[in-house]
C-alpha cells in the first residue's frame, strides 16, 4: 500500500466539488475539491505498491499542460486497472465541467 503526491500548475479554481467511483475491488474513487488558482495537488492512496510511474504517466496526460482547473484531487484506489483509472478520471473531469 502506498501514498503518492503529485503537483501540477493549473488555471482558475475548479467550479465545484465532484466525487465519482467506489473503493471496491478493482475500482477507485476520485474526489475533486476546488483549490486556490494556479495549482493542482493530487494525493493517491493505492492498494498496490510500485505504481508511482504508472500514476504519473496517466496524470501527466491530463494535467501536464497546466491548463486544468485548480483543484485538490484525492484518489483512493483498490487495485483498478489503468483502463478503469482512465474511465474514472474522465468521468470526474467531465462532471467537473458539466
Amino acid at each position: 500500500m502506498e501514498k503518492l503526491h503529485l503537483d501540477y500548475p493549473a488555471g482558475a479554481p475548479a467550479a465545484q466539488a465532484v466525487l465519482v467511483g467506489v473503493v471496491a475491488s478493482g475500482d477507485l474513487e476520485v474526489l475533486i475539491a476546488p483549490a486556490a488558482a494556479g495549482s493542482c495537488h493530487i494525493v493517491i492512496h493505492s492498494a498496490a505498491d510500485g505504481s508511482a510511474a504508472r500514476w504519473r504517466a496517466q496524470l501527466d496526460r491530463l494535467f501536464g499542460d497546466g491548463q486544468a482547473a485548480a483543484m485538490q484531487m484525492e484518489i483512493n484506489d483498490f487495485g483498478a486497472t489503468p483502463g478503469v483509472v482512465s474511465l474514472r478520471l474522465a468521468q470526474a473531469l467531465e462532471e467537473l465541467s458539466a
Binding site: 500500500m1 466525487l19 467506489v22 473503493v23 471496491a24 474513487e29 474526489l31 475539491a33 492512496h45 483498490f78
Partner: protein, 287 residues
C-alpha cells in the same frame, strides 16, 4: 417478472440496484431536496484501515442524506455495499447511529423527522471488530428509540444483502422493503458452512441460499413487508406508502409468545426448507 420488463426497466434507467448508495439516497428523497451530511469531503476516514494495508473510502461506506419525503423532513442512511462489503466500522457506524439519534431528538421537539435505512451490508467490519459491534448496538438503540415516534423503514435491494448485526437492525425496523435479489440473514453463508458443515449449508448453492433467505421467501414469511421489482420509482412509492401508514400496530419483534409457541410446536428434527419456514410463519396469527 418478464425478460421484456427487465429490458424496459434497464432502458428506462430505473434500476435501483445499479445505483450507488449516494445515488439511491437521492433517488428516494423528493427531487433536489437531499443534502449530504458528514460527507466524503470532510475526509473522515477510518482511523484503523490504513495500518492494515486497506485503502479507505472517504465516506467510510455510509452516506447520510437529509431531505424531504413527500414534503416532510427525513433522513436517509445508505450503506455502500461496494466498499468492504458494506461492513460497518467506527466512522460509518457513528454516522448511522448519530443520524437516527438526531431524528429522534427532532421528534422530541415536535419535528416529525422520519428515517430510512438502505441495508447493503455484511454486518461488522472485522478490521474494526469491537468498534463496529459497539456502533451497531448504538444503531439498534437508536432505531428502537426513533420507532416510538416515526416508522423506521428499511430497504434491502441487493446485491450484497443484509447480514450480521445489521440483520438485527433490519428486524427492528417498522417496515422492510425487499427485492427478489435481496437476502436477509443473520450469518453469512460462508460462516455457517464453516461452523456447521457444507451438508448443513452449502455457501456456493445460490438457489438454496435464496430459497431460505431471499427477498421473496422473507416476504412470504412476513419477515419483510413488501416485495418489489428492482425499480426506483416503485420503491420510492412503497416507501411513501409505509410512511403514510404510520407506526405499525404490532411490530414484528413484539410477537415473542406467539413465535415461541410456534417454534416449540414444530418438528425441529427435520431439516428446514422454504416450505417448512413458510408453514412456521403462516399458520396462526399474522406475524
Amino acid at each position: 417478472m418478464s425478460h421484456q420488463q427487465d429490458i424496459t426497466r434497464l432502458l428506462q434507467g430505473r434500476s435501483f440496484i445499479e445505483l450507488s448508495a449516494r445515488e439511491r439516497a437521492h433517488s428516494l428523497l423528493d427531487a433536489g431536496s437531499g443534502r449530504e451530511l458528514a460527507g466524503p469531503f470532510e475526509r473522515l476516514y477510518s482511523p484503523w484501515l490504513s495500518a492494515q494495508g486497506i485503502v479507505a473510502q472517504a465516506d467510510d461506506g455510509v452516506v447520510i442524506c437529509k431531505g424531504l419525503l413527500d414534503g416532510q423532513p427525513a433522513v436517509i442512511a445508505a450503506i455502500e455495499g461496494g466498499f468492504q462489503g458494506g461492513s460497518l466500522g467506527e466512522v460509518g457506524g457513528a454516522k448511522l447511529a448519530s443520524a437516527l439519534e438526531l431524528a429522534a431528538a427532532d421528534n422530541r421537539q415536535g419535528i416529525p423527522t422520519r428515517a430510512v435505512i438502505l441495508f447493503e451490508t455484511g454486518g461488522v467490519r472485522l478490521q474494526e471488530a469491537n468498534l463496529g459491534l459497539a456502533a451497531i448496538a448504538e444503531i439498534h438503540a437508536a432505531i428502537v428509540d426513533l420507532a416510538r415516534y416515526q416508522p423506521v423503514i428499511g430497504i434491502i435491494a441487493g446485491t450484497v444483502g443484509c447480514f450480521g448485526g445489521m440483520s438485527i437492525a433490519a428486524g427492528l425496523c417498522s417496515y422492510l422493503i425487499v427485492t427478489r435479489e435481496a437476502r436477509l440473514g443473520l450469518n453469512g453463508p460462508q460462516v455457517i458452512e464453516q461452523e456447521a458443515g457444507v451438508a448443513e449449508y452449502d455457501s456456493r448453492n445460490r438457489p438454496f441460499i435464496w430459497s431460505l433467505t431471499g427477498g421473496e421467501q422473507r416476504q412470504a414469511c412476513g419477515l419483510a413487508d413488501a416485495l418489489l421489482d428492482d425499480d426506483s420509482v416503485l420503491i420510492r412509492q412503497q416507501l411513501l406508502d409505509f410512511i403514510a401508514r404510520g407506526l405499525p400496530e404490532q411490530p414484528r419483534h413484539r410477537r415473542s409468545q406467539h413465535m415461541l409457541q410456534r417454534l416449540l410446536a414444530m418438528d425441529s428434527t427435520s431439516q428446514a426448507d422454504a416450505a417448512s419456514a413458510r408453514q412456521l410463519f403462516q399458520s396462526g396469527a399474522k406475524l
